[in-house]
Symmetry: C2
Subunit: 383 residues, 2 copies
C-alpha cells in the first residue's frame, strides 16, 4: 500500500492545446499565420500553421482507449477526453488516476517547440512560443497552482531570446523549460560547444531544471524506413540514453555545477548499464580526449541528471545503482504509454517491496525538490 498522505507527482504529461490558445494571444500582425484548428472533410481536426497543415493529435490523445483502437489516424477534439485540453476536467482525470500534481509538455509545437523553430518567419515562431507560455502559465497552471508544475518553451534557435523568455516566464512562476536532448541533430551547436552557456548560466542561477523529453532533439534514431512504428516507440528511450551519456562526457556540468537535467519518458532501467559503461570508457579513454579528467560520469550523474519511469521493473530493482534521489514517476496522460485511469494501481504494483522512505522520494519528494514545488500544507493531503 502507498502511504495515505502521499501526493503522487507525475513529471511527464501532455496538454492538447485548445483551438484558441494562439488565436487569443498572438499580436494582430500575426493573426493570419497563428496556429488554428480547421476541421477537414473527414471530420478530423488539423492544426494549420503559416497556412499549412502542421499536425494532429493521433496517438497523443488516446488516454482511456482500448489499445486495440490505437492508431496513427488523425483525430478530432470530439474523439478524446475533455481533460486533454480542459484544465478543470484534467484535474478531475488526475483525481481518477490518483495523481496529485503533474508537469505537462506541449503538443502542437512538439516537445521542445520544434515546429516553431521550423517557421518560415522566425519572429512569428517566437511569438507562438510566447503565446504558448502565457497560456500554460496564466490559464492552465493558474487554475490550481498546487497541481500543475509550470513548464515553458524557449525560442531555442536564438540563445539571447531564450534567456529573455526564460527570465520573463520565471517572473510569472515557470519551474522548468523544455529543451533539446541532442541539439546537434537539428544542426545546432552541441553540448560540447559554448553556445548554450548564457542560457545554462541563467537556469543555474535560478535553480531552474531543464526537462528534456525523449524525441525532442530532432526525433528518432535511424530506423529502417520499413520498420513498423512499434520499433520506433520501443527504441525512443535510447534518445534519453544518448543524451545522458553525451551530457556526462561534455563540459556542461563542469561549467555549471548547479545545472540539472530531467530526462522525460526515457525510462530508468538502462541507467545502471549506461553509467557503468560511461565510467569504463572514461577510465580508459579520457587521457587523449577533451574530457574532464577528474570526475567520473557516474559521480557527475548524482548531482545533475534525473530519470523517470512509467513502468520499469528492472529500473526499480536496480534503483540503488541509479540512486533513489534521482528517480521520479510519470503518468504520460493522455499519450499511448499512459495507464490512465489505472495509474495508481500500476504504481502501487511497481512499488511492491520498496521501503516507504524510498517510495516517498520516488513518487513525490524528488520532484518537489527538483522543480522547487513545495507542498501546500493548507490542502488536503490527497485528492
Amino acid at each position: 500500500m502507498l502511504p495515505e498522505d502521499l501526493q503522487i507527482i507525475s513529471v511527464d504529461d501532455h496538454v492538447i492545446e485548445h483551438p484558441r490558445v494562439w488565436l487569443d494571444r498572438m499580436p494582430a500582425k500575426f493573426q493570419d499565420q497563428a496556429p488554428r484548428i480547421e476541421r477537414a472533410d473527414d471530420g478530423n481536426d488539423w492544426w494549420i500553421y503559416e497556412g499549412q497543415k502542421a499536425g494532429n493529435f493521433a496517438l497523443n490523445a488516446v488516454a482511456g482507449k482500448d489499445p486495440k483502437d490505437f492508431g496513427m489516424d488523425p483525430r478530432s477534439y470530439d474523439d478524446m477526453l475533455t481533460g486533454c485540453y480542459d484544465i478543470a476536467e484534467r484535474i478531475r482525470d488526475m483525481d481518477r488516476e490518483g495523481v496529485w500534481a503533474q508537469l505537462c509538455f506541449p503538443n502542437m509545437g512538439g516537445f521542445a517547440g520544434r515546429v516553431f523553430w521550423q517557421s518560415k518567419d522566425r519572429e512569428l515562431g517566437q511569438e507562438c512560443v510566447r503565446a504558448y507560455n502565457d497560456w500554460i502559465l496564466d490559464e492552465w497552471c493558474a487554475h490550481d497552482p498546487d497541481r500543475q508544475i509550470p513548464l515553458v518553451m524557449l525560442p531555442f534557435w536564438d540563445v539571447e531570446a531564450s534567456v529573455a523568455e526564460l527570465q520573463r516566464t520565471l517572473e510569472k512562476g515557470a519551474r522548468s523549460a523544455t529543451f533539446l536532448e541532442a541539439p546537434h541533430r537539428l544542426g545546432l551547436p552541441s553540448f560540447h560547444s559554448d553556445h548554450w552557456d548564457p542560457l545554462f548560466a541563467v537556469a543555474q542561477e535560478a535553480e531552474f531544471p531543464l526537462s528534456v523529453h525523449f524525441g525532442s532533439g530532432g526525433g528518432e534514431l535511424t530506423m529502417a524506413p520499413d520498420a513498423n512504428y512499434t520499433v520506433s516507440i520501443a527504441m525512443m528511450g535510447m534518445n534519453s540514453m544518448a543524451a545522458m551519456i553525451d551530457l556526462l562526457l561534455s563540459p556542461v556540468f563542469h561549467k555549471f555545477p548547479g545545472l540539472k537535467f530531467a530526462l522525460s519518458e526515457g525510462g530508468i532501467g538502462w541507467m545502471p548499464y549506461a553509467l557503468e559503461r560511461a565510467d569504463y570508457t572514461w577510465t580508459r579513454h579520457r587521457w587523449y580526449n577533451d574530457v574532464n579528467k577528474e570526475v567520473p560520469p557516474s559521480e557527475l550523474f548524482k548531482d545533475h541528471i534525473y530519470g523517470c519511469f512509467i513502468s520499469d521493473h528492472a529500473g526499480i530493482e536496480m534503483r540503488h545503482r541509479i540512486g533513489v534521489d534521482n528517480i521520479m514517476f510519470e503518468s504520460d496522460y493522455p499519450h499511448s504509454d499512459s495507464n490512465w485511469p489505472h495509474t495508481r494501481k500500476v504504481v502501487e504494483e511497481m512499488m511492491t517491496g520498496v521501503p516507504e522512505n524510498e517510495v516517498r522520494k520516488i513518487l513525490e519528494d524528488n520532484a518537489r525538490i527538483l522543480y522547487n514545488f513545495p507542498r501546500n500544507p493548507e490542502r488536503s493531503p490527497v485528492a
Copy 2:
C-alpha cells in the same frame, strides 16, 4: 574462485591481419589491387586497398598498453603485441589471460567486411572476402582448432554470393559469420524485408549463428561532430540495443524459428530494460502495426538472441531477467576495452556470488552450445 576445470570462452576478440593475408591468396588479376601494407615516412603501417589508404590499427591493437598511451594515432606492427597477428603468440597471450578459446572478428575490412562492400570493383571485394575466410580457416583457426571458433565474413551486398560463401566455408568448418546489425543504415534492405531470407534459411538449416558486432551496421549513432571520442565508445552498445529491438519486432524470427543472433561487445546490462520496454510497446501498439500479434518480444529473445559482456556488474546482477542461457563472456583482445592480461581476474571478480552452474554456462557452456564448439576431452582442461 572459478571452477578449476573451466575453459573460459571469449566470443568477441579481434585479429590484426598480417601483411600477406591477401597477397598470398588473391587471384593474379587482382594482385595489384589486393590489400597490402605500406610503411609511411612517419613509421606507421597503412593498409593500401585499390591503390588508396584503407586504414591502420590505432586503438584496435593496444592490448597490454597503459590507457595513458591510448590514442587515435596510427601504429605499426612493431608497436603491438605479436599475438595481434601471429596465431602461435595469440595462443600464448590467451594462456596469459586465462582464456581457453576465442572467436575473432576481422580488422582491416571492418567488423562485417564493410570496406570490401565499398570496393570500386565488387568482384575484387568478393575475392578479398574469400581470401580472408581462407586465411582465418586454413591458417589462423587450423593452428589449434580447439582454441579458435572460426568466424567468417560474407559478401553481404550480394545475397546469392553470401549463401554460396556460407556454404563453401561451412564445409571448411566455419561456425559463425559476422553480419550487419542494421543493414538499412548502409542503404540495404532492412530486417523487415524478405531480402535476407535465402541467407537466413541456410544459416538456420546449418544451425549457424550470425554474430553481429556493435558498429557493424554502418557505424555509430548520430554523434555531435565536436563530441569527444569517449562519447562514441560509451554509446557504442546502443547499436546492439537498437539491433535487438529491431530484430525482435521484425518478422525474422517468426520466419526462421531456428535462427540465432549473437550481439557482440554490446554489453548486457541494458537488456532487462530493452526487453521490458519492447514488451510494453508491443502490448499496446501491435494491433495497428505489421508485427506478430502472438509472441511477446521477450519470449522471442530466449530462443534467438545472445549477449556478451566484458565488465557489466548491472547485467550480471540482473542475469535472471535476461536469462543465464543467453549470456556469454568476451575479452576483446587486443582492443581498448580488453583487460588483458588481467582478464581472468576481472571475470572472477564479476562472478562473485554467482552460483557455479551459472558461472559454467556464462563463461563456457553457452558459447559451446551456440557455436556448436564442443570440448575436446583429450585436451587438458585448462591452459
